[in-house]
Amino acid sequence: MTAPPAKLTPTPPIPKVGGWDNFQRKYAPYIFISPFFLLFFVFGLFPILFNAYLSVHEWQPGSGLGDMKFVGLRNFTDNLTDPTFWLSLKNTAILAVESGLPQHLIAIPLAFAINMGLKRAQSFITAIYFLPYITSVVAISVIFFTLFSWQYGVLNAALNSLHQIPILGVLFPADKINWLGERAFVQPSIAMVIVWRYVGWNMLLYLSGLQAIPGELYEAAAVDGATRSEQFRFITLPLLRPTIFLAVTLSLIGGFQLFEEPFILTNGGGGVGQAGLTTIMYMFRTYNAYSDAGLAAAMAWLLFIVIGLLTLVNNFAFGRSGTGNNEAAK
């Protein structure tokens, strides 16, 4: 941007024409790029700055903008001393792990299998796995409500009929399980929906990562007598590391911003013992039901700090080599 290539290879001076040509040359690029920046300023930068401003004020969304009262850092200390805030953070972390780990543990081998084993049906199978990701959450929730329902659910009906099987039946519960209404089951149930929904997305990421691995490496390994699982262990996994880093980072951010699934599956209430209350849900509740915009804004910043720290840790864990850039450059 600072050194246009024109300076390196001198060109004959441009004959001076009218101001319009000059104007075009100078400003047209800025005008062409302005739509993005205008939209970004209005819908990206402004909300962030306004949120920062809000976080040090006391304000109820129902009263005018003139009613804001400066309160300093009180909103932050209030959040940090609020047991429910910490509970929501704990829930979010548990849900992020419960839903995040299985996603990747399923997606990587799945992508490997699809990449290796399927040739013609590959895109079709990939599309099917990707389908949940583009389906509306509300539609998904309706389906899972009928699956999870305590009295009328498909899941309980299935478990119940499995329980009728002699001998093996002991392994399955005799009573109906209240999946979304019992403390112990709320989080796993929500996590299950998230895993189901995002496995396809992660698989797609890994698939593109796998396709970037040159086929000669596998051929060479095969010539050396490596089995499929050895190929996976010694070629696929190390070379997939940058993709894993990306996918895990995205899951981490997504997991900590979890809102839709737990909100709908607990009817917005957070479920028994607030086990399904995530931080974003609590933030929404603080703004929407408690009418405390400043407190909610401060909560958003605290969550931002948490996500930022975790991304740093993730970066550290996968090492700089994880991104594949530094060592390659050296």
């Binding site: 129902g62 903008l65 009295q151 009418s291």
Partner: protein, 416 residues
């Protein structure tokens, strides 16, 4: 030629003058209130031909979100806004809504014309009246006559007291395998919390903002105890709140013996919720001689409105005109908040869905007995915390004194 031009000019002038005299008023509503307002307009325009009313109807949640935004930014609100009961407290804080207790409105003088509990709902702690009540949801106990008959239980045995509700409820469930007495045990607690309050007390706070939630408060202890007894006797369907999927399915399958709700539930039951059970549901008063209300709607005037005079005329017409209140009841079943709206002959007619029971008379009497509750701006927070505490008691993870003490602490740290 010239004369002709002059004539045209004069004609144009007179048209524009007439237009200038006509005030255009906007009113923001949500379904079904939009049908009520639509039905009201012919009558309103007969009285005020110079006021044009434009209805802006949005879905329930969208309407209230749009209103929040309009009040926050000071722009874009309608001249009259419908506000559901659940949102009144929220809009009462701040200065977005016109204080109707002041001149020229003097709404306070109208309070005696309305069912007693309605005005305190829209009155702030500092005495401002932010909205006028238009319809109410007097609560009653709905019950399945066939299920009760099979168990040989009379409705009067169910609602004599909370104890007899539980004892006889067990008989009903035992006689009808697969059914539940009530969708959720917490409903009983919510009703008990709303009864037996001292004058001037709110649900969770007293007049001086002191938190009433405590292991020593008999009202809270009783509410939690009764709910816990219902849960422990396995009488409830653990369906959570009304309109949850579990709640809906239980209704549609006909697996519920009783439900506590507002009179408006009949409309839902006959239209979609329990269509197949026409004539099998009936209504009685809530157990233990208690009275409570479920929801209700209000009309308010945002301070940013430029047509407050005309807006007030419309609000008055919608809320204080008896004929209009009766019309609203006939249009959508919105139960009049205006006492004079409850004397029409239609109240003596039987309700077809309820097997022609004259339930409206029951609701009218019940409405008059509902206790007024003083609202506090922290009510939504306390509400959430108390229902969480109740959830912990119901699933056995906390005992009642601990849960109440924890809830008390959580609410107290919010007061300052």
């Amino acid at each position: 030629m010239k004369i002709q031009r002059l004539f045209v000019a004069a004609a144009l002038l007179s048209v524009s003058l007439a237009a200038a005299q006509k005030t255009t008023l906007t009113i923001g509503v949500f379904p079904d209130l939009d049908s009520v307002v639509k039905a009201a307009l012919p009558g309103f325009n007969k009285l005020y031909p110079d006021i044009d009313v434009k209805i802006n109807s949005l879905a329930y949640a969208d309407h209230h979100n749009a209103l929040t935004t309009a009040l926050s930014t000071g722009k874009g609100a309608n001249d009259v806004e419908a506000i559901d009961f659940g949102y009144v407290a929220k809009f009462a804080e701040g200065n977005g809504m016109t204080d109707l207790s002041k001149a020229p409105y003097n709404a306070g003088a109208l309070a005696s014309k309305f069912v007693g509990f309605t005005f305190p709902q829209a009155t702030t702690q500092d005495g401002r009246i932010v909205a006028m009540p238009t319809d109410i949801g007097p609560g009653s106990m709905f019950y399945r006559t066939d299920l009760l008959a099979k168990a040989g239980v009379k409705p009067s045995q169910l609602n004599a007291s909370w104890d007899s509700y539980i004892t006889n409820g067990k008989k009903v469930v035992a006689a009808n395998p697969g059914t539940f007495l009530i969708p959720d045990a917490s409903e009983a607690a919510q009703i008990i919390l709303r009864t037996g309050l001292k004058a001037g007390d709110g649900l969770y706070f007293d007049k001086s903002n002191k938190v009433l939630i405590s292991p020593d408060n008999a009202r809270f202890v009783k509410a939690f105890t009764v709910a816990k007894q219902i849960r422990d006797a396995k009488l409830d369907a653990k369906a959570g709140g009304a309109f949850s999927p579990e709640w809906t399915t239980a209704f549609q399958k006909g697996n519920l013996a009783t439900e506590f709700s507002g009179a408006w539930l009949v409309g839902h039951m006959q239209n979609w919720l329990a269509k197949d059970f026409t004539g099998k549901w009936n209504a009685q008063n809530l157990p233990g001689n208690t009275f409570a209300s479920w929801g209700g709607s209000f009309y308010g005037i945002p301070t940013q409105s430029a047509n407050k005079d005309a807006a007030w005329k419309l609000v008055q017409y919608l809320t204080t005109n008896a004929a209009q209140q009766v019309l609203a009841f006939k249009t959508t079943g919105a139960f009049p908040a205006l006492k004079a709206g409850q004397t029409d002959a239609v109240f003596n007619q039987g309700v077809v869905y309820l097997g022609n029971q004259k339930a409206r008379l029951l609701w009218r009497t019940a409405a008059a007995k509902i206790q007024p509750l003083d609202v506090n701006k922290l009510d939504p927070i306390a509400d959430q915390i108390v229902s969480d505490a109740l959830g912990s008691v119901l699933d056995g993870s906390k005992d009642i004194p601990t849960a109440l003490a924890d809830a008390q602490r959580l609410v107290e740290r919010r007061t300052r």
